[in-house]
Symmetry: C2
Subunit: 259 residues, 2 copies
DNA sequence: ATGAGGAATGAATCCCCAC
DNA sequence: GGTGGGGATTCATTCCTCA
């Protein structure tokens, strides 16, 4: 196992990394001003340029066939979906990235948000690469009707009753993946992060875009879920976070995972 | 029951309608050039302006608290997601519309398309209104984990094992709705349309944004699924389609539905 | 009737080969 | 070389047939 987590600004840390050394980047950056108290926040107007900046350095460290998956979803304010994600997507494309797909992470979890609206229960996983055909293994990540950590029921009117086992890997994954959110245990020092995404989701993304024994980078590694997923799947991991507390927390988490 | 279907260009037909007479607009317009042989196709570069044009007339016929749901998803070409939908969303907003939410229709159906990518199994439902708080009833459309036309299994860690009946309407719907695609029966004259969306999906959208006994407009009514949903739920319906064959087909379908 | 099994189908995408 | 059309690919679901 090779897993390292650095403390600092991700652009500066990436600058110290050799070019073309990373197979896949899997990350959940701060959503503009939504985690302001922890990460300082990025004004929505600056978010496209801020994203293009860190992705420019990511381009350098990424292999030619590597790719990037970014977890994000715009918030709603005054009943309107914020438009900074639309502008950011256009800015990323204008910077030369190929938008391969918008994948959907369907979360379980408790109802949140306005009672005048449907329950918000998904987030986008924006997938970018240097060209139109990066490395990807759509069969590695599981059956096509991917419902991870949930039980398999019948997905539709189908003659064969009862539980259906996960496929043996001959079917491509769906672009909608269902994974329940992890509970944010405030009392658990190892998981006390404002927005950790589930390890199973990181594993799904890694299986899709990281080759066996490859290297994954998470420039906003937070609680370290991408690192845990890497350890469990034999990928080398490089994590970066600007908050020292989370760096220490996730180092500890990886140490426990390896034990 | 009041249901009428007009033949013609939707802008011209809408011009004949009184202002402020429609509660909800539910539609699936042609996706740029994807149904070119049937509808002539709209060049991607023209698509934002084309959309803004018909929505301008839609604004006039829509009540102050009414809203619009548009079904669309960009195609992939050469490994890249087409960007015309992003530009169209920005253009719609620039025209004064409030983007309330991007809802997700998770389709069932067969895995087609590139073997190098996850199976594409969802489409977006873009929801627009004149302001930030249009009429909406998130509890009317069903249980929060909406899986329509499919059997209910356990969606997650849940005490009660086995099948769970649909809720009685106390829970808000999710922003991800699962409905299988309808089979395109080429031999069935009443359903011979290149891309009919399921009646159940139209019902779900109508329950969300159309008040009881309200009026629904579908400016690209195609095979008439929105009309069928309206008849089944007591909404008044106005459909418009540019292809006479589909107008006749859907009139026939509504006649059978009423019988 | 009921259920098992086979065949057909699908808002696709990509590759490849004429022209 | 660029452009455009035809064919291969792929499997969940539906439909149909037959025991």
């Amino acid at each position: 196992m090779t897993a390292e987590i650095h403390h600092g600004d991700c652009i500066e840390v990436m600058r110290t990394m050799p070019g073309g050394s990373v197979d896949a980047i899997v990350t959940s950056p701060p959503y503009a001003e939504q985690r302001k108290s922890t990460y300082g926040g990025i004004p929505e107007a600056d978010y496209p340029a801020w994203t293009v900046a860190w992705m420019a350095e990511a381009w350098r460290v990424l292999k030619p066939n590597g790719s990037v998956i970014i977890n994000i979803r715009p918030h709603i304010r005054n009943g309107q979906v914020s438009d900074y994600v639309l502008h950011t997507r256009l800015a990323i494309r204008a910077a030369g990235w190929n938008e391969c797909e918008e994948l959907i992470w369907k979360k379980g979890g408790p109802p949140m948000g306005s009672t005048h609206r449907p329950r918000r229960s998904y987030e986008s996983l924006l997938w970018y690469a240097k060209h139109g055909r990066p490395y990807a293994d759509p069969k590695a990540a599981g059956p096509s009707s991917t419902r991870i950590g949930l039980e398999y029921g019948r997905l539709g009117p189908h003659r064969h009753s009862g539980q259906r086992p996960p496929s043996t890997g001959t079917a491509r994954v769906s672009d909608v993946v269902e994974v329940n959110t992890v509970r944010n245990k405030k009392s658990d020092g190892l998981n006390d992060h404002p927005a950790p995404f589930p390890v199973e989701l990181a594993e799904w993304m890694g299986k899709l875009i990281c080759p066996p024994n490859g290297t994954i980078l998470d420039p906003f590694s937070g609680s370290g879920s991408t690192g845990v997923a890497s350890v469990r799947n034999g990928w080398k991991f490089v994590g970066i976070d600007a908050v020292e507390k989370y760096v220490e927390m996730s180092r500890e988490r990886l140490k426990e995972e390896a034990a």
